[in-house]
């Protein structure tokens, strides 16, 4: 009988601040599945079975510890009436914003997730993954935070103008977005997601100052996360989180993903006993890594964050770029298995 834990046991131990058999690894593979399946990204995301099969085969191949039914961020905006723009080797983008004028917010209503065909496909992928993985492998669902969704709804600059200049309209938009995000998150939980990754890059200290976060994104996160019926990981999508670590812990997040711009040891220390840490391999630089680079980066991260559990290794953006080589991903996996063992 093998002493090796299942991925679920490994992750749960780590999240309980205990040392599992080895450091858990999340390869956040989205569009990479299209490359592995030898189909275009557009075709890939049109067939829930294809995404599920790719997730399962990539998990076998790279021996990492999660399944990731997330398609792409712009999919959420499709439910609001936007169209996505596809590329050959990058995640689809949202097309024309749905809010042209701040006044549009006052008549905005949250769409019913169940009426969105794209989101229905994500739910179907999640159900297939759950059937295959059972309780052995965590399934990571994703929701854009109500606070970060407006970047796609109206454009980044316009949204910053709204936050700073129109607090009442901002509050209205948050109410509508929260309703949508909570429904979307809980439908994924019903379909089999074990944990919800709450993508909230606008809250990161890279984008807004901590004092503004405490008045805005923090309060939105606290209310939203309290209604999500699964553990939540807050993800800043490469943004900094250290200046607001204690606040993030107070939102109810069990995990936070830190940026490669921050010192992993420092973040781990700041999170001690409060949250587990996810991160922080550099996905962009990973494109030109050699296998030796990958091994060295993995060893460094383990040295900084593995002790005492509470750490899951991953890239810092929540998405492995299409251009990263298979050899580098395998090297990361092999290095975690080699150097990430707890004694």
């Amino acid at each position: 009988m093998s002493d090796e834990m299942t991925s679920m046991e490994r992750v749960l131990a780590a999240l309980s601040f205990k040392e599992p058999d080895r450091v858990p690894l999340f390869h956040m593979l989205t569009i990479y599945g299209a490359k592995e399946s030898h189909v275009s990204i557009k075709e890939y995301f049109s067939k829930p079975e294809l995404v599920a099969n790719a997730q399962l085969s990539m998990q076998q191949k790279y021996k990492h510890d999660c399944l990731y039914p997330f398609y792409y961020a712009a999919l959420e905006l499709e439910a609001w009436g936007s169209e996505s723009i596809y590329f050959d080797n990058a995640p689809p983008n949202s097309g024309r914003p749905i809010i042209d004028d701040f006044g549009d917010v006052l008549s905005l209503e949250a769409p019913d997730v169940l009426e969105s065909s794209g989101m229905g496909m994500v739910l179907e992928t999640t159900r297939i993954l759950k059937e295959h993985a059972g309780e052995d492998i965590p399934i990571v669902g994703v929701v854009m935070s109500p606070f970060s969704l407006p970047v796609m709804q109206m454009g980044f600059g316009e949204y910053l103008d709204l936050i700073y200049g129109e607090p009442d309209i901002f509050s209205e938009l948050m109410k509508v977005n929260k309703k949508f995000s909570v429904q979307w998150a809980n439908l994924q939980v019903q379909a089999g997601a074990t944990v919800i990754c709450y993508f909230d890059p606008v809250s990161s200290s890279t984008i807004i100052p901590p004092e503004l976060y405490r008045k805005t994104g923090f309060k939105v996160a606290q209310k939203t996360i309290s209604e999500i019926k699964a553990p939540v990981a807050t993800h800043m999508a490469s943004g900094r989180c250290l200046p607001i670590i204690d606040d993030i812990a107070e939102t109810g997040s069990a995990v936070v993903c830190t940026s490669v711009l921050e010192d992993l040891a420092e973040v781990k220390s700041a999170c001690a006993g409060k949250m587990s840490v996810l991160g922080n391999l550099n996905g962009i630089e990973m494109i030109r890594w050699t296998q030796q680079d990958a091994e060295s980066k993995v060893k460094d991260a383990i040295e900084k964050a593995a002790k005492g559990g509470g750490y899951i290794m991953s890239d810092n953006h929540g998405e492995i770029p299409y251009q990263v080589s298979e050899d580098v991903l395998l090297s990361i996996s092999n290095s975690v298995r080699k150097f990430g063992k707890y004694l």
């Binding site: 995640p91 454009g155 700073y164 890279t206 984008i207 921050e262």
Partner: protein, 213 residues
Amino acid sequence: MVLYTTLSSQFKQYLLSLNKVAAKRLIQDEFTGDNAFQLIQQIMMPALENIGKEWEVGSIALSQEYMASNICEEIVNSILPPESPKRRDMPVLGVATLGDQHMLGKQIVASCLKASGFSIFDYGAIPVDELATNVVKDAIEVLLVSTLMLNFAYEVKSLRNCFNETGISTNIIVGGAPFLFDDELWKQVGADAMALDATEALSKVYELTGVVE
């Protein structure tokens, strides 16, 4: 000069607290009708540069740089209108995203350049071929490219190839998240320089054009 240093520090505080009224008043009080560039170079730009440096080390957020650049652009327009003949003496600059619909970085760079007294051509997200045609037509000396998405960062390589094939000597300065996370990428795609933030982009413009700040 000492006075301007103190004023610049005060101006920066007004920018960070989004006190547009006080920031504008500070500049208007110093404006004599023919010292716009002096006020830009000695009060406003040092304040913006300081904010940019603090963003690079993570002590200031992007939203603060965005709001500060916007306020400065508005103030500069009041003392040096866009149609001012004085702006025509500056190198001709363009900004673009090469198809990337994420415009925030470009907006901040454009505001910062305008706040420095440059006239700029904003090409938005037009694709490489169309951009190259416009760059020639408008006699652009330096093109500043901002991208958020990695695939559009790689488009700089297509742009450089297009420039090389058609004999366009325009310099390319790149910036944005992909270049921030991989400090070798700008060389890989054939750019002439990389800037971590808008004010560094401005310094690179001065370096590449030989214009004295």
